[in-house]
């Protein structure tokens, strides 16, 4: 079975290796440049007090914004193009009739294939993760590990994302039995799980902390650059919070007077402290692993019953 899996997927494996190598070279080149810029930032004390020359240096890190795209596209491509056809290609070419009537059972065929393909996929994503962590470490130190461009590609969440995409591909293939439909369904399912978790659930894995400050205070209290600021707004006399200001100011009022006139008692902002980073990573990892395991069990059940 190992030989068969290797023989059927060696071309795909080679492509993945080439893609990884290209990405690796790109990360190495841009990463060295970023490390260099970071060194200058430290030398010119930009991390402590920001001055005009710092903005220029920070431009060097714009490349990191490609991170979230990478975090979604790579595993998704792997799931849709390698895992979705795992079952459908056999059914479409009718070779399942050949392979399921050899001396090994259908379940053994499936479990060995899953183990090898998933194992290789996780290995590849793990290797890339190591490079990515080094690559965006300057960004993590400046903008914090909760930054969207860092968070997705700096811990177990990245590997779990890959697992999810692969597992969904296998499930979609076993469900639809048609390659095109399976590729489409893989993408839909992946985004349908990933987007709500990232946008709605992640900011609330734990109750955010709140700081309030007086309305005449010019600047909010400084958060650490590792903290993740979520929202800011106004608190009225009843203690109600609102994120947008519904009132109108006249020309001769100061901002403070205007806020007072509209019943605003204080400003607030909510944030997730930086030391929750690993807790959040493991919670999100757990969510993706649960979905992956469900998808894989469903796939096994579907293949067992496939007529």
């Amino acid at each position: 079975m190992t030989w068969l899996t290797w023989r059927q997927h060696r071309a795909e494996g080679l492509i993945v290796l080439v893609v990884l190598a290209v990405i690796g070279v790109f990360l190495l080149m841009t990463g060295l440049e970023m490390a260099n810029s970071f060194q200058q930032l430290v030398l010119s004390n930009c991390l402590i007090s920001k001055n005009s020359s710092c903005g220029e240096l920070e431009m060097a890190f714009r490349i990191v914004q490609a991170g979230p795209l990478l975090a979604l596209a790579l595993p998704l491509l792997l799931g849709a193009l390698v895992c979705a056809p795992l079952v459908t290609r056999e059914v479409e070419q009718r070779t399942h009739l050949l392979i399921w009537t050899q001396s090994i059972t259908r379940m053994r065929w499936l479990t060995v294939k899953l183990a090898l393909v998933l194992g290789a996929g996780l290995l590849a994503s793990g290797a890339l993760l190591a490079v990515l962590i080094w690559w965006h470490s300057p960004v993590a130190q400046i903008f914090g590990s909760f930054d969207a461009s860092v968070y997705d590609t700096s811990g177990p969440v990245w590997v779990a994302t890959a697992l999810l995409a692969l597992a969904l591909g296998i499930f979609a293939g076993a469900l639809t039995r048609r390659t095109v439909a399976a590729i489409f369904l893989t993408m839909v399912l992946f985004l349908a799980i990933r987007a709500p978790v990232e946008l709605l659930w992640r900011p609330n894995f734990e109750t955010p902390l709140t700081v309030t400050y007086a309305i005449d205070q010019q600047n909010p209290p400084a958060l650490s650059n590792q903290d993740w600021q979520l929202t800011s707004g106004f608190i009225d006399a009843q203690g109600n919070r609102s994120t947008d200001f519904r009132g109108s100011c006249t020309r001769d009022e100061t901002l403070t007077q205007c806020l007072q006139a509209n019943g605003v008692q204080a400003n607030y902002l909510t944030y997730q402290p930086g030391d929750r980073f690993w807790t959040f990573q493991w919670i999100e990892t757990g969510i993706y692993v649960v979905f992956s395991v469900l998808a894989l069990f469903a796939a096994v059940w579907l293949v067992r019953r496939l007529n």
Binding site: M1, W3, L4, R7, Q8, Q93, R94, T95, L97, L98, I99, W100, T101, Q102, S103, I104, T105, R106, R305, N307
Partner: protein, 305 residues
Amino acid sequence: MSNALETNKLSKRYGRTWALQDCTLNLPARRVAALVGPNGAGKTTLLHLAVGLLEPTEGEVQVFGCSPLRQPTEALPRLGFVAQDTPLYKGFTVAEMLTLGRKLNPSFDDAMALARMQKLGIPLERRTGKLSGGQQAQVALVLALAKRPDLLLLDEPLSSLDPLARREFLRTLMDAVAESGLTVLLSSHIIGDLERVGDYLIILSASHVQLAGDIQEIAKTHKRLIGPRQDEAAVASVHTVIEASHTERQTTLLVRAHGPLFDPSWEVQEVSMEDIVLAYLSQQAGDRWPMPPSVREQNGREVFK
């Protein structure tokens, strides 16, 4: 266990359509059986049930006493299967297909497979997708034979082959049968070929087994009766009338005789196997052939469904 394949009230339903219904048959070991029936009769369904690719809706199927679905580790090594249109991995070379067979089957006979490929002149380094249809069928057959199965099932292996490829395919098959004494169940709608290689016949039509038995026995018991125009009721009380046609002056019956024919007014003729099969197949879907009451008691078991 003297039966290679046994089914008991085996039925398979897809949605609301029965692909196979109430199929009870025994295929004795060391037979070469032909499974004939029109397209859509349930031949493929029966074969897929027998190799555990399908789960029965009702009833059961056993291969050498094992359920192919519930005891796959016992049943699968004893089964060889060549699916319709002989699917192969088109990107694999012939040598890689043999490696596949060797890796997935503990008793794979590599030497035999290589020898047969050489004899057939099939280049080992060629991709199977580049082989002719006849060669692809041969590769699939050799792969199934090299597994050293006790029961080989072939689903319409001849339908897409030209007459020459068909003859060579059957030669490879019969060589293997002569060498190893394996049991074969071969489905087809080409009757002539089956008569040449088979010694057992199963007729499947309209999701039901219409007839199953030794070919010589079938040939011996099926007769054509020609006589002056008359009602077939008298004959039907003793024998089973499969087909009756009447002209103005003459009545022709195809009967399965359950004993000697005494009435001298009938002229008795031999019937070809093809005519017997066609007579069974040309009946309407709902037709059954009840045993005459006298015979039913003697035999104890109904042959006709």
